[in-house]
């Protein structure tokens, strides 16, 4: 088991390197750098001034070198100005060049400096991730149990009226994207359009103290979308299990219907949806972008939008590293959990 996790970690690191390199390349394309120079300096810079700015910042080095510096495996670029002062990535404003470390990258824990928030990236990512984590936790708590119940109820008697009704609900919620359902929910429950002012249309205050009133709508918006999908998967898997021969065996053994569902079918039916549920985690990040912007909840998705909109290269990179890690870790959990659910697969 330990060896298996180690091997998976190795693969994860490799995947992480490939993906971050890709993002790094795309964010470091010349037009992006030019824009960076102009937002950092001034918008009326001439081409020469732009290239001299980039030269000073070390942006014009070959891509692998820049990537190495960002990772922290190569000594970072330093530029001696005409006045003799030294500037570089590792030298924070007001710090003496001699005291600054030579290496500063992800490995050293230095994630860069956000040009939008004027803060260190690591701090921003940490803070925002915590906020989004809170949101995701509630989404999962609402989405997974209700999706499973929906799926199991629909799948245990395939083709029945319950099945048809629940399936229709599931399809409807999955077919409605967040930006539609969010707007509708706000219109119905939070605006004066309908008049049911049960909830707040903004979740800004939920960052400090979340309560049912200010947090339920964003949670529901994300949960609804994912719920339908998981419920469909669970239904299909449940319906298949219910026709299996061992269910007939159980039935002809005299097991009552509720017990057949709970004791015999459930574990087998959850094997397939489990992977899907784990896949929902990274996928939720996606929904989070829209919902957090919609409800003005300043979490991870909102930060991503800000970083992308303002060409904040370091922040974008930081965000993408976190996303990659979230995806890979959930995959690992999914594989391990699968082994526990399915006795036919064993890790030795």
């Amino acid at each position: 088991m330990g060896l298996f996790i180690l091997r998976r970690l190795g693969v994860m690191i490799l995947t992480g390197l490939c993906l971050t390199f890709l993002v790094f390349t795309l964010t470091n394309l010349y037009p992006n750098l030019e824009k960076l120079a102009k937002t950092q300096g001034n918008f009326r810079m001439s081409d020469e001034e732009v290239s001299s700015f980039l030269e000073k910042g070390g942006y014009l080095q070959p891509l692998p070198v820049k990537y190495g510096e960002w990772l922290g495996v190569l000594p970072s670029h330093r530029y001696t100005n005409e006045d003799g002062s030294v500037q570089g990535r590792c030298i924070l404003p007001g710090q003496d060049a001699a005291e600054a470390p030579n290496f500063c990258g992800i490995l050293q824990g230095y994630w860069g400096f956000s040009t939008v928030f004027k803060e260190e990236v690591a701090g921003i990512v940490g803070k925002r991730l915590a906020l989004t984590g809170k949101l995701m936790l509630w989404v999962m708590l609402l989405m997974v149990p209700s999706a499973l119940i929906l799926g199991v109820l629909a799948g245990m008697r395939e083709g029945s009226a319950t099945d048809r009704t629940l399936s229709t609900v599931a399809i409807t919620t999955t077919a409605t994207p967040e930006y539609v359902s969010g707007v509708i929910l706000i219109a119905v429950f939070a605006s004066s359009a309908v008049g049911l002012k049960w909830f707040k249309g903004t979740a800004t205050s939920a960052m400090e103290s979340a309560n049912f009133e200010n947090f339920f709508l964003p949670v529901l918006t994300i949960a609804l979308y994912g719920m339908g999908y998981i419920a469909r998967m669970t239904r299909a898997s449940m319906a298949e299990v219910m026709t299996a021969q061992y269910i007939r065996t159980a039935r002809l053994k005299g097991v009552s219907f509720p017990n057949i569902v709970m004791k015999h079918a459930l574990r087998n039916a959850l094997i397939a949806p489990f992977t899907v549920i784990m896949l929902q985690f990274p996928w939720l990040l996606n929904g989070v972008v829209i919902v957090e912007t919609l409800f003005n909840y300043k979490g991870f998705g909102w930060t991503l939008v800000q970083a992308a909109g303002n060409n904040d290269i370091e922040l974008l990179l930081g965000v993408s590293v976190v996303s990659v890690i979230v995806v890979l870790v959930t995959q690992l959990i999914s594989d391990i959990g699968y082994v526990y659910l399915n006795p036919r697969i064993s890790v030795s």
């Binding site: 060896l3 298996f4 091997r7 083709g159 299996a244 021969q245 061992y246 007939r248 065996t249 159980a250 039935r251 002809l252 053994k253 005299g254 097991v255 009552s256 017990n259 004791k263 015999h264 574990r267 087998n268 094997i271 659910l341 399915n342 006795p343 036919r344 697969i345 890790v347 030795s348």
Partner: protein, 696 residues
Amino acid sequence: MTKWDYDGPILEIDKLSISFFTRLREIPAVMDFSVVVQPGEAVGLVGESGCGKSTVALGVMQDLGVNGRVVGGSIKFKGRDLGAMSQEELRDIRGSEIAMIYQEPMASLNPAMKIGKQLMEVPMIHEGTPEKEAYQRALEVVTDVKLPDPKRILNSYPHQLSGGQQQRIVIAMALMSKPSLLILDEPTTALDVTVEAAVVDLVKDLGKKYGTSMLFISHNLGLVLETCDRICVMYSGEAVETGSIEDVFDKMQHPYTQALFRSIPLPGADKNARPLKAIPGNFPLPHERPPGCNFGPRCDYFVDGLCNKDQAIKMQDIPGNDRHRSRCLRINEIDWAAPMALEDTKTKGAIGDVVLKMDNLKKYYEVAANALFGGSGATKVVKANETLSFEARESETLAIVGESGCGKSTFAKVLMGLETATEGKILLDNHEIQDTPIEKRDTKTVADVQMVFQNPFDTLNPSMTVGRQIIRALEIFKVGKNEAERRERMLSLLDLVKLPREFADRMPRQLSGGQKQRVGIARAFAGDARIVVADEPVSALDVSVQAAVTDLLMEIQREHKTTLLFISHDLSIVRYLSDRVMVMYLGHVVELGTTEQVFSPPYHPYTEALLSAVPIADTSVEKEHIVLEGDIPSAMNPPPGCPFQTRCRWKSKVPGGLCEKEVPPVRQMADGHQVKCHLSDEEFNNMTPVIKIAAE
């Protein structure tokens, strides 16, 4: 629930009719079916697939699904009508009073639940037994079904057991609360012959021990003969003949029963002198049944105007016999004792030169110890074939016999070029082909060595017409210059396998199993194959069709002088059609000789056990009863010394524990007869025949 006492018959099915309802029509699956099971009695229900025997079983369980419904008649269990019971009452009876044993043990056990829990559930539901007692009871029953190490078994998951062990668990589960009626739905079809024999033995013993009545559903007449007291033959949804085993087997009174017996090979049958007689035509689909007698169109005694008159035919009592009834209008007119009209006897083609020669062929596989997550673990070597040496001659049928895992399919793969040999030689017309994979073989070699597969349902492309598939083979073998020529050749191939030419434009799904297998044969012979490997070509087919397909293979062989390598586990059919037999066990050839030599003593101990395990549908045959203990060892981890030593009953006759130390040498017994065994000549000479045909 308390079990109530009742003196009368355990199960009375009276004029039962069951139909399935589809959107299009009502499909009658069972019509006017009556059977009575007395306490302690075992009744066999025999028929081909689709005849409704499993529907009867599910009808008794009242578990016909959403579409099925009992449309007439009644099923009484211990005097109570099952059809009138509520769901709760039925649930009480299921598992405690009526238990069922299923065809596929693997699929019938919950894969994600430990064996112990699945067993303990039964008494816990029905008798409210506390968990500890239930566990004790489970231990007891698992010991009863002769499984080793019951505690470990109770704590394992179904996939950790072998097929035979799983079936024993299913039997144990059925016996957990001592039911009065046991329904066995083809309980051994998925098992190997020697394992089957052991399971059948067990069921018989337990039936006696617990006094359970049994309804035994099978398509295998031999098996029914061994296990049951009474038999009911079904055809197309109706019972056509019921009676005691002796009456039905020896004094049959229905043309279908007679035809069924004539289409299965019995020990005395010989392919040239007494060929099998296939039942002509096809099994009617449930919605296409003919008017009058269902068997009419395929019956030898058919009389126009009588048998096809649109009327229901009633079961008639046969006077003089014990509850012997038959559904035939002409019982009194037919001379049942008349011997079978002999069709023209065929002469065997002369056996020609050696075309295929195996010399010390070996095939080893390396497998990772843990395929999914391993990689660093040590690799294990599976010795699928060990030192295979034999010759096959022109127009000869060489049968390769053995149970699953004995390496017969691996050998076929190596011969076909799907795998390459690890060591040794395969000589086809004196050139070596063992190291040439099929992609590198020239068209001629590929066309020369062809294969007929076991399962005709999976081997035809479902989205291509039959003709197209044969033409595709012709294109690959570069037969014919243009499309028209190939089409002509394809039609003549259809003639060869006796399929109507219109079938060229049909899709595989429109064909029955036997017809599909004929297409498979046509495809194999597309390039005038000289060596055809037939891998269990008839085991997926119904008995009445088996004979026709086997005969077809024989006929093509006579015409084309084909060398036929017939892989099978069915010794009756092997005896019937092969010239020479090779018996394999765990990758070793344990015996090789002419059919005559292999089927009479001296035997290799394994051959002896195999012969004893085969159920024979003939009341005049006496068999020596040999039951092999345990399962076939895994090829991953074969026993040291002789591969068969773990199950051999002769082991004690060899001095010095030689069997455990050394692989026995190949011994020449007689001309062309070789046996791989340590037994002394004296012991060999003292062996008695396993199968004896009692003097009339």
